[in-house]
Symmetry: C2
């Protein structure tokens, strides 16, 4: 911790980061004027110490200090419901601070039973509301959630069906889908384990109960929807799903990978079948 | 636009979103007290109109208004360098607002020439600094950048080599890589178009000039690095790259897809070879 007094003005408590910078996390209320004085004195010290990036994490209960920080030349780096992170770059060179998260991750689930019926839903909100279009169950993965787990969860929440994740059939990257942010949408193949459509109210958020109609729909009927000729994304997704069953289409399956830098396991998705086949002669 | 006056207090100009909510973008300076009054009057109206989510986008130059918005019960949704987005949910039910961006997107480039030499770099910062490990060129895609374009750009910046994007060989999802955020890392196959390694200083940011050493390295030598036995991610990536050349491994190639909802084109990445083959008989 770098902390102390400079004359009458107290310095802000800071911890050093791995990149020559400092991080301040405000944990107590302060008068905005006193805070500004402390911040100026602290910046002076950090400049003298050749520090680079300065991060200030302000919990939302101290939103009255945001303006003081901005007035010292800081800009917003990112925000979450409970805090905002502001940042400043001391050197005169162009900053090398990491960028904020840029993408949300969505999943769509292609789930077909042995009768060649596909699990579909109708949404009561969103772009397809009122259109009568039957579509794959889709959703956004939660913070920290594996996309495979997100696909299983969304299917369960929207339809009550238990399913096993098999592979990623395709994915789409699109931009400016939500303000300036981008989107990665993964089309996942899941194998149904249960078959009775019965959404348990206790298992899903109350707000979602009335958002969905769902059914097992013959794949031919699904493909014959007129929307398929207007939305080539939906057409491609259906074609890929069918190719899985009819042509042995290979998507990407997950394998666990580790790192010497971290205990955390993550998943690499790859074409396992092609990787494990014998070399071409 | 919903706008107007309610007695003496002016209402905030707002546009409706697709989900029963409203979006306010502050574009002119306002006195914080006046702003609070307008916001309260507007919330009253929106409540009466059964609106759901209320979004307020505050450019950073109006950081003096952040506190006023928070005091009315709003919380932070996300922030970018130039603005903060705050949000409020009017109904008494649990909110169904979309989550913030959760992922950063990285790319690694597998680039091999006809002599079975692979394009590799050594980083002078980051986790592998000082280790002597030769690795694929990698980087983070910019906001709004297609991952294929990001891979081409990173190869050019780090090595001076021009290359053409061919396909995504594999991808990894990992969590808590940067604060609470997650990461999606795409391993891309690129075909080199130029072969002379010569990083043009004018083409890259000054700060990056001295970060990289690069060379064409025989693939056998690359694979023989001791790090391969410790980092199974690196081993998998090399195996997949080699499988492309030795076994006809299929990754995902991009196809353009459109939407009736948007003029913007985006790319769906899928196993084109499997999709386009004849059905199994």
């Amino acid at each position: 911790m770098l902390s102390g007094n400079l004359g009458e003005v107290s310095l802000l408590p800071a911890v050093e980061d791995d990149y020559g910078g400092v991080i301040v996390e405000v944990t107590d209320p302060m008068d905005p004027g006193d805070f500004s004085s402390s911040l100026r004195a602290s910046l002076s010290l950090w400049r003298h110490q050749n520090k680079k990036g300065v991060w200030i994490k302000l919990p939302i209960q101290y939103s009255n200090l945001v303006h003081s920080v901005v007035q010292e030349g800081f800009w917003y780096h990112h925000a979450e419901p409970t805090y905002i992170m502001l940042v400043y770059w001391i050197p005169s060179t162009k900053h090398t601070l990491p960028i904020n998260a840029t993408h949300r991750v969505g999943v769509g689930a292609f789930v077909m039973n042995d009768n060649k019926e596909i699990l579909v839903v109708q949404e009561k909100t969103g772009k397809f509301r009122g259109s009568g279009v039957w579509k794959l169950p889709t959703g956004v993965v939660d913070q920290g959630e594996d996309l495979s787990a997100g696909a299983i969860r969304e299917v369960k929440e929207e339809t009550g069906i238990d399913a096993e994740f098999l592979e990623v059939l395709a994915f789409r990257q699109s931009h400016r889908t939500f303000f300036d942010k981008s989107d990665l949408f993964f089309v996942c193949l899941l194998r149904p384990i249960s078959f009775d459509i019965s959404v348990q109210e206790s298992e899903i958020e109350a707000a979602r109960v009335d958002l969905f109609l769902c059914q097992w729909m013959p794949i031919d009927e699904y493909m014959a929807q007129s929307v398929m000729s207007k939305q080539n994304l939906m057409k491609y997704i259906s074609d890929v799903g069918l190719a899985k069953f009819e042509k042995g289409y290979n998507g990407f399956t997950p394998v666990g990978v580790g790192s010497v830098f971290s205990d955390r396991k993550s998943y690499l998705y790859l074409n396992s079948k092609d990787l494990n086949q014998a070399p071409e002669s």
